[in-house]
Amino acid sequence: MYGTKSKIDLAFEYQSQIPVLRPSIHSRRANLTVKFQDLYGFTVEGNVDDVNVLNDVREKVRQQGRVWWALEASKGANWYLHTTIGQGSALTSSLKFSALANAITLKKLIKKGIPPVLRPKVWFSLSGAAKKKSTVPDSYYDDLTKAVEGKVTPATRQIDHDLPRTFPGHPWLDTPEGHAALRRVLVAYSFRDSDVGYCQGLNYVAALLLLVMKTEEDAFWMLAVLLENVLVSDCYTNNLSGCHVEQRVFKDLLAKKCPRIATHLEALEFDVSLVTTEWFLCLFSKSLPSETTLRVWDVIFFEGAKVIFNVALAIFKMKEDQLLLTHHVGEVINVLQMTTHHLFDPDDLLTVAFDQIGSMTTNTISKQRKKQEPEVMKELDQRIRKLNSLKADNK
């Protein structure tokens, strides 16, 4: 698509360059910090144990790949597309049964992770991006990027400003080619939906989508399906009202699912949105290691935005004991940051997120959102009115 596949593939080859480090008592004691490149080419800092965890993760990814290949061999290459049971269709009962069986297999399988090589294909079909793309002419993306070339808007100015500030130092993203690709995706989207235009945070999301999907056009459609179908509406528009709603829903859920933490943090006057806002807007891409983030995204694209709540709750839950010992806002933030930055094994997080937090249906979350919406709108409205009255005073 944009002739940089080889560059991106390069990033994956770094995998083989990582030394296998045996944790020795000495190095543990010294808590030696090493810099290394993770599965998607990001430089991370960690100790020897982290490197070993990452090597284990690589091995698990390979095993998971074998599981997927075996399924393709026995069920056919696109078996996961036939998981919905046609209503009133002429399907025979045995076909219906196999579709149901596939659906159950798929749900479990996706929680265990989609192998990086299959991610572009699986994400594209399961998220609904393929369907979205199929409703417009094939040349939509090319036409759009051509039509908006050279146009300057507040959105494009902000995008240009943010390009070198999006994962600086990444071996592909932080190159002229990477910048140009990210720019085209973000600018094209800013014209597709002028209500969103460009919102800071989308730069990180789109960058990661580019790394996974490997073509701009597919990354663009994934961004579109994410904003238009997967996430709560108005998450990135105007005053981020959708994000405000999510934060309130999250606070309620934390009080329900982790009551001791919620009570303790409240006593410290710690508003959890101080940390969770970034998680919701960047979908963890700025906080979790890349493979862990993408494992979360695997499930988001299949099951929906409710997954963000599961994962965010899990991060708190995992550190319950430590969090209960904090005395100060700074300590809370430290615990959460240290935790997220070192979650190199995605299964550590996802096991808690889905087995311990308990399942929540999209329906439950939607009801909670409806409940919170009026209050959020009222608050945002009051703020704007206050500001406007201020302007009137000054004139």
């Binding site: 902000q158 400003h161 943010d162 070198p164 500030r165 999006t166 994962f167 600086p168 919102c199 800071q200 945070g201 730069n203 990180y204 990135y236 528009t237 105007n238 005053n239 981020l240 009202s241 405000h244 006057e269 508003d271 949105s273 101080l274 940390v275 806002t277 970034e278 807007l281 960047c282 700025k286 100060h328 806002v329 700074g330 933030i333 945002l380 703020r383 206050k386 500001l387 201020l390 302007k391 000054n394």
Partner: protein
């Protein structure tokens, strides 16, 4: 929005500078301790995202803040206009005892200057704020700025110390600081 808020805070907290600082989403949190003769001031700094739509999140950060720094970029008139908006918002909505500072950053880019020193100074004066021109890149005036904030805080409400007592006669006070624009 690229005025150098994070760079300014990182210069103060870590003594570091990088040309391309990751854009801040929501806000970032930093701490730093400054020892004055009269007191030890412990800063809790909330460094907020710059884009205008993020302003709706700001009350969460300036709630309970003791001081606020409003930053603009001397090479961008647009950033100065937005800084003035911020000044009004914070004055109206935040704690009335809040001490406010207006900071003109990127002073090293003198040849690209669009906002005159006098304009900044006048705006600060009108709003009862202290004014500093800084450069996070060269470190010019950065420590001076935070020392001044610490001094003003120590003087303004010595009785409102809420922190832990340290050994000796100095007291530690936690001060919440809010950085915007």
């Amino acid at each position: 929005m690229g005025t150098g808020k994070t760079s300014l805070v990182l210069r103060f907290v870590k003594g570091q500078f990088s040309e391309y600082q990751e854009s801040t989403i929501g806000a970032a949190f930093f701490t730093q301790v400054l020892s004055l003769n009269e007191a030890t001031v412990k800063f809790d700094i909330w460094d907020t995202a710059g884009q205008e739509r993020y302003h709706s999140l700001a009350p969460m950060y300036y709630r309970g803040a003791a001081a606020a720094i409003v930053v603009y970029d001397i090479t961008s008139m647009d950033s100065f206009v937005r800084a003035k908006k911020w000044v009004r918002e914070v004055q109206r909505q935040a704690n009335p005892n809040l001490i406010m500072f207006l900071v003109a950053n990127k002073a090293d880019l003198e040849d690209q200057r669009k906002v005159g020193n006098e304009e900044g100074e006048e705006c600060a004066k009108e709003n009862g704020m202290s004014f500093f021109e800084t450069s996070a890149k060269t470190a010019q005036n950065v420590n001076e700025l935070f020392y001044e904030i610490a001094k003003r805080l120590a003087k303004a409400n010595p009785s409102r110390q809420t922190g832990i007592k340290l050994h000796g006669r100095t007291q530690e006070t936690r001060r919440r600081l809010f950085c915007c624009v």
